[in-house]
């Protein structure tokens, strides 16, 4: 009998191994490793890693480039998440009524999401081309001053944001369409009978009922924007003069361009901590406030 309890414990473990072995080697292990590397100094080449304690953190917190990247990251995350959620919800509200061409609009608005970010970013970089690009043609048509777009430190991040929002908005819209479909009709009718107008019904009934979707999109979009790489790499490579260098891009550059493994690992560790704090925070908030 002793043997059979062993087997009973072991068999489920065997079932988890095909996923858990690669997960441990390529995810869990590296997670611990990057934390360790943040306490060392290394350049990829030399045989030894020098243990330097908290030096990397100290240098990073004294480095103005770090704070700039932190600011860019914050701006990029909020600049992605808020418009995507607001526009996505707005489109879903309008599309969720009976109307002709609903399926067509839905397909069309969702389509950017399936396309490769690199390819569409290349297309957008042609649109943003300062001399003959379409973006400036439009501005000229309306009598507005032309912009340098991706070549101008003031506008480059806006350009990257436009591409990111364009790609994600239809995806968020689909989530909201599903959520809105699940709002019970009789609840709306009850509110209607109670004399609530459209706006009140939206604020008091619809919005609370779809709050789990909002929260989910908020977390997923936030983590996605913290990791945005493809469009930045194609459109601006972090430039001009660091105006689109997010924490993730800074991490990539110090690791694979300047081979400063210590600094890169420190940035990565900070990025991981931000993500985890953020996820835990929203999980707590969701327990307290969302209505299921």
């Amino acid at each position: 009998m002793k043997g059979s309890t062993w087997v009973r414990e072991l068999r489920p473990i065997l079932f988890t191994l095909p996923a858990m072995i690669p997960f441990t080697i390529f995810w869990l292990g590296p997670l611990v490793y990057v934390f360790y590397l943040s306490f060392t100094e290394w350049d990829f080449m030399s045989p030894d890693k020098l243990f330097v304690g908290l030096d990397n953190y100290r240098y990073l917190f004294e480095n103005p480039a770090f704070y700039k990247a932190l600011g860019v990251t914050l701006f990029f995350c909020i600049g992605t998440v808020v418009p995507v959620i607001v526009i996505g919800l707005g489109l879903a509200l309008l599309l969720n009524t009976r109307m002709k061409g609903r399926g067509f609009y839905r397909t069309l608005l969702f389509s950017p999401w399936v396309t490769p970010t690199v390819a569409v970013s290349i297309v957008w970089s042609w649109i943003f081309e300062p001399e003959a690009g379409f973006a400036n043609t439009v501005l000229k048509f309306f009598g507005l001053p032309e912009l340098g777009w991706l070549k101008d430190p003031q506008w480059a991040l806006v350009g990257v944001l436009i591409v990111t929002i364009w790609k994600l908005v239809g995806w968020a819209m689909i989530f909201y369409m599903v959520a809105l479909n699940n709002v019970p009709e009789d609840l709306m009718e009850a509110a209607d009978l109670d004399g609530a107008n459209r706006f009140q019904r939206f604020m008091r009934v619809t919005l609370p009922l779809i709050s789990p979707t909002t929260l989910f999109l908020f977390v997923v979009l936030m983590i996605q924007s913290l990791q945005a790489y493809d469009q930045i790499n194609v459109l601006t490579q972090g430039g001009p003069s660091g105006s689109t260098r997010t924490l993730l891009y800074m991490y990539y550059q110090s690791a694979f361009e300047s081979f400063n493994i210590g600094e890169a690992s420190t940035v990565a560790t900070i990025l991981i901590i931000i993500c985890m704090l953020f996820s835990l925070l929203t999980m707590t908030v969701s327990r307290k406030t969302t209505h299921y």
């Binding site: 079932f15 995810w27 069309l108 993730l248």
Partner: protein, 281 residues
């Protein structure tokens, strides 16, 4: 939701969607028309909305200018392999989490949940070092096995398996079937729509994948399609000369995905339903 029958508001609504659709589709339109222009015409200001003489040969020229067929088949091969492995290991893992009892279950679920919170890009540097230790840099083996577990896939299938009554597993055991047999012949077929979503979403994700494959595969003939296109973009005078060819190359990179999307959009949009569902479990 109460629908609004007033013709004026209906008109306004259609107007909003016409404008939104135009904005969303415009980059695709501009890509194709730019691909058909001559180098002279593309720089004209104001730009022509449709090329004077569509230069269809640009597509052939771009196709010949870099080994795009090679890049695409590389991407298809890698994406396909990853899909197969993920079907296998997500099915096994989800079965253990949903229909087996064992002591480590809680701990393993928590570990996988942690995978949701930590950005995978943040571990690219140590992951790269691990692959180099294993001598797997610049190989598809390295690329495939390092990408072969997805927390999303595990959650998706687990959610589907939880909806299958446990009595089916027990009935199978009474008949003397092994867990492997129960999983793949009884449970998995019931959850086939979730497996279809997994396959499609993973395939698109991996086909489009850029950052990690670019770090791992250094030799030009190993490049996946996004990296190949990007290097064509940089060499081909990104900052100047060959815009029509670059637009043509982007067009035939994007087109297969849009075609796949049109034919499978029901399944792809179903993924939204399932993703939203797997959050609550």
């Amino acid at each position: 939701m109460a629908s609004n029958p007033r013709p004026l508001s209906r008109f306004v609504k259609h107007l909003i969607f016409a404008v939104a659709s135009l904005l969303m589709a415009f980059p695709f339109y501009w890509m194709v028309t730019s691909a058909l222009k001559t180098n002279d015409e593309i720089w004209r200001s104001p730009p022509t909305l449709w090329p004077e003489v569509p230069l269809w040969s640009n597509f052939a020229d771009a196709w010949a200018a870099a080994p795009f067929w090679k890049y695409m088949s590389n991407s298809i091969y890698v994406a396909f392999a990853i899909v197969l492995i993920q079907i296998f290991n997500s099915g096994m893992m989800a079965y253990a989490l949903a229909h087996m009892k064992f002591r480590l279950k809680g701990a393993l679920s928590a570990l996988v949940l942690l995978g949701y919170m930590v950005p995978s890009t943040a571990v690219y540097l140590p992951g790269y070092l691990v692959l180099s230790k294993l001598q797997l840099l610049d190989t598809y083996t390295g690329l495939i096995i390092s990408n072969c577990v997805s927390v999303f896939s595990i959650f998706l299938i687990r959610q589907a398996f939880l909806q299958v009554p446990h009595e089916l597993v027990e009935a199978g055991q009474i008949d003397g079937a092994s867990h492997m047999r129960i999983l793949w012949t009884i449970i998995a077929p019931i959850a086939r729509s979730s497996f279809a979503v997994l396959a499609l979403i993973t395939f698109i994700d991996q086909y489009n994948n850029y950052f990690w494959p670019m770090l791992i595969t250094k030799s030009p003939e190993m490049m996946l399609v996004s990296a190949g296109l990007r290097s064509f973009f940089v060499e081909g005078g990104a900052y100047g000369l060959k815009w029509p060819l670059i637009m043509a190359a982007s067009a035939f990179t994007i087109a297969p995905l849009l075609i796949v999307f049109v034919f499978t959009q029901k399944t792809i949009m179903q993924s939204v339903n399932m993703t939203a569902g797997s959050q609550k479990g």
